[in-house]
């Protein structure tokens, strides 16, 4: 049945996250923007126990599943199971946190994208070895390293290599990765890890690309640069160089075998991570969008300007039309996001819906925040308010996890039934 009601449990948790955002993020938002590279330690320490609980729960579930499989039980048929709400909850958490501050949200410790990759394709041994750290001790981070100076979305061109040293049974990584979100925290400042995409056979192009887990402090992995950015300044974005970096054989995720050359079979599995992560990036964008719209409406209200819904077009002011356009764009993107998220929870393929919501959310939040600066004028161009910062923060959503154009390209290929040869 078509239904837009959130389960009560998520409503409650969403309300709680919104409170945290208001109380712990907003007050430090401006400071961390002005002082790039500083970390919100109080906030990190506050969130860490929450992260630990969630990670412990997920790890326990993975253990149970593995035990059941080992005992020869058939996994329950997905259709019979009640749909999970894990992603729905996560999307609401991210939306609420990004309403607080999108850069600070990215500082939340835990597995993040790197952890997701292991959860998606890792063996139970790998999950134990790499994810247990998020359930104990000091805050830790994980990061995902894909992009290189030469190429981002053109992943087939990845230059980083992983060579198997058969004598020691180790992978030897070489190459340079850039734009690694939380890379500093994951690779150097905590006992975290980085999931690195590298090729085991460059002539096999996409089929040769595998992902590897490199733990913090591994010799040969070095953070070489911390970027200075337009927005989300509380979050670190770094370059990492791998130089004869040796990791155990078992740190490869999925099968290390290269399937038939020039096919994309193995690669498609890797790309699946994006189907899960893109709606969550969209959710982050929507948090910024909601923050902006709320601020615009409150500011106008204080000035005695009411937005009158329901009037015929000719009676609306230009300002009203702008605000309504912002709200409609927000609604459109948020509903597309919820659809992609709920399909994930229902374990249905969502590649097209995932790219649709990411493309739409990136565009919508860019438009909404830029429009807000225009509407409220000189008042909010000033750094006294957060609107100008939200506009700068927002832009990242149309860039990372695939630019708006790449996501549009994915949607186009899917609706046309075209591959990369038919539609470049």
């Amino acid at each position: 049945m078509i239904d837009f009601e959130l389960p009560d449990q998520i409503k409650q948790q969403y309300a709680m996250f919104r409170q945290v955002a208001q109380a712990s993020m907003r007050p430090i938002s401006r400071d961390l923007d002005e002082n790039e590279h500083e970390k919100p330690w109080d906030f990190i320490n506050q969130m860490w126990p929450v992260v630990q609980m969630q990670e412990a729960y997920e790890l326990k579930r993975a253990e149970r599943k593995a035990a059941a499989l080992a005992a020869g039980e058939k996994p329950a048929k997905p259709r019979k199971r009640r749909p999970s709400t894990v992603t729905l909850l996560m999307a609401h958490m991210i939306e609420a946190m990004s309403w607080g501050d999108a850069g600070i949200y990215l500082c939340i410790p835990g597995g993040q994208l790197g952890g997701e990759a292991i959860k998606a394709v890792g063996t139970i041994e790998q999950k134990r070895r790499f994810l247990k750290r998020f359930t104990e001790g000091e805050p830790k981070w994980a990061a995902m390293a894909i992009t290189e100076p030469c190429c981002g979305s053109d992943t087939a061109n990845i230059q980083a290599t992983a060579r198997l040293d058969e004598e020691t049974n180790e992978w030897v990584l070489n190459g340079e990765k850039i734009f690694v979100t939380s890379g500093l925290m994951a690779a150097q400042e905590s006992d975290g890890f980085v999931v690195v995409w590298a090729s085991v056979d460059r002539s096999a192009r996409r089929a040769g690309i595998k992902s590897f887990v490199v733990e913090a402090g591994t010799p040969g992995m070095k953070v070489t640069k911390t970027e200075e950015k337009l927005g989300i300044r509380a979050s670190d974005t770094v370059s990492i160089v791998f130089e004869e970096c040796r990791i155990p054989y078992d740190n490869v995720l999925g099968s290390p075998e290269v399937k038939k050359k020039d096919t994309t079979k193995g690669f498609k599995g890797v790309m699946k991570t994006f189907d899960a992560s893109r709606p969550l990036v969209a959710a982050s964008a929507m948090g910024i969008a909601r923050a902006t719209i709320e601020f615009v409406k409150e500011t106008l209200e204080k000035d005695g300007i009411e937005i009158r819904y329901g009037l015929p077009r000719h009676r609306l002011t230009g300002l009203e039309r702008d605000v309504m356009e912002m709200e409609a764009q927000y609604k459109a993107a948020w509903l597309l996001t919820l659809r992609a998220v709920s399909m994930l929870d229902e374990r249905r393929p969502n590649a097209i819906e995932s790219s649709m919501c990411k493309a739409k959310a990136g565009k919508a939040v860019t438009l909404i925040t830029q429009k807000a600066v225009e509407i409220l004028g000189p008042l909010v161009y000033s750094r006294k308010f957060l609107v100008e910062k939200w506009m700068r923060d927002a832009k990242i959503n149309d860039l990372f996890e695939g630019t708006g154009q790449i996501n549009t390209l994915i949607v186009a290929r899917r609706i046309l039934g075209y591959g990369r040869r038919e539609l470049k």
């Binding site: 049945m1 078509i2 000719h314 597309l336 739409k360 154009q405 186009a412 075209y418 038919e422 539609l423």
Partner: protein
């Protein structure tokens, strides 16, 4: 729990309506547009889908166990995908029936609603729009004045669907400045059906100007009796229906353009292999899906008894612009052929432009 899946019953209904749209509407809609007429036998066939009666409860001889605006939005999209003019003709009786159902007095419901559940198409309509660029449903120029036991209606209306054949017209008029509905039966003195209007699109649909010159009706014909009607709720319902129609029209154009772009070759490959074309199609797909979800959300809110006024209004604004963008894109993808009437996309563009002016012209 959040879900975007129609129920099995709804899916069956969508299937039936889609078959009708595909088999009965698609083969003939172009001719109807050229000729400006919709043959009665097709209207009758469409009526037999029982869509209007499906929204009327059993106590009034309909077969709605539970009236659902979501279901209405679902079938409205499918019908409009077939053809907008035929759809608006088929749904016109709902313009009188649903306001009676929602706001009518017991007598009004008992006397009128069963008529909409009969086997024969029941021609009925509403008169809301007025022939002025400053038309505002909440500030009508047409007036209703109480005179003893009668209301006297005066004013001019436009876009009155099926006015010439309608047995019942729900006329909206300002009573002491507030919009109320008045049930005017065919043949009432002072009710003058004017000329058939000629529009840019929906050319097969018969719409008329209407003049009310001291048109007297019994006091009991005020919709909802003493309590009257809530215009806001009716406008919300209409905005949901109209937006769902816009999604259907947009989808028709998008699907045609998509198929064409894969067939048509230029420079040795299908034009869909160029990002300039492929990105237009992708944007259309995103726009259409987004609008549909907005329509569903507003419809769901109505079904839940929640306030849906703002959601429906924003959905309508978004849908009006979306359907123009998408149908214009449809013409653009076809290039010069898109301008030729042998191809359907120009018709969808003409219909698509209409949505910004369609206020209160459909209900589900």
């Amino acid at each position: 729990m959040i879900s975007f899946e129609p129920t099995e019953e709804q899916q069956m209904l969508i299937g039936a309506v889609r078959r009708f749209a595909d088999k009965e509407m698609r083969p003939v809609y172009r001719d109807f547009d050229e000729e400006g007429e919709i043959p009665q036998n097709l209207v009758q066939k469409g009526w037999e889908l029982g869509l209007t009666a499906a929204g009327i409860p059993e106590e009034y001889e309909g077969f709605a166990e539970e009236r659902s605006v979501v279901t209405g939005a679902l079938y409205a999209e499918e019908l409009a995908w077939g053809d907008l003019a035929i759809t608006m003709h088929l749904l016109a009786p709902g313009l009188a029936a649903y306001p009676i159902l929602l706001c009518g007095t017991t007598e009004q419901k008992e006397s009128y609603l069963p008529q909409f559940c009969e086997d024969e198409f029941k021609s009925a309509t509403a008169a809301l729009i007025e022939p002025t660029i400053r038309f505002d449903p909440a500030a009508l120029k047409t007036t209703a004045t109480l005179d003893g036991d009668e209301y006297v209606l005066n004013g001019n209306k436009a876009y009155v669907l099926l006015a010439e054949t309608a047995d019942l017209i729900l006329v909206y008029a300002a009573e002491d400045g507030a919009t109320q509905g008045f049930l005017v039966e065919r043949g009432t003195e002072g009710l003058e059906v004017g000329d058939r209007e000629k529009h840019m699109g929906i050319k097969a649909l018969a719409t008329y100007e209407l003049a009310l010159n001291d048109c007297r009706i019994p006091r009991a014909s005020r919709l909802g009796g003493e309590a009257g009607c809530d215009l806001g709720q009716l406008m919300t319902l209409s905005r949901i229906a109209t937006s769902a129609l816009a999604v259907g029209v947009a989808r028709a154009s998008y699907e045609y353009a998509l198929a064409y772009a894969k067939e048509r070759e230029a420079f040795g490959e299908p034009i869909a292999s160029r990002q300039a074309i492929a990105f237009m199609l992708a944007d259309m797909a995103v726009d259409i899906d987004a609008t549909r979800l907005m329509v569903w959300e507003a419809a769901w809110r109505m079904d839940q008894g929640k306030d849906a006024a703002k959601e429906a209004y924003l959905a309508k604004m978004f849908a009006d612009e979306m359907v123009l963008r998408v149908t214009d894109g449809g013409v653009q993808v076809l290039g010069g052929y898109g301008y030729i009437r042998e191809f359907p996309v120009e018709l969808w563009l003409r219909n698509g432009r209409g949505f910004a002016t369609f206020d209160g012209l459909a209900m589900v």
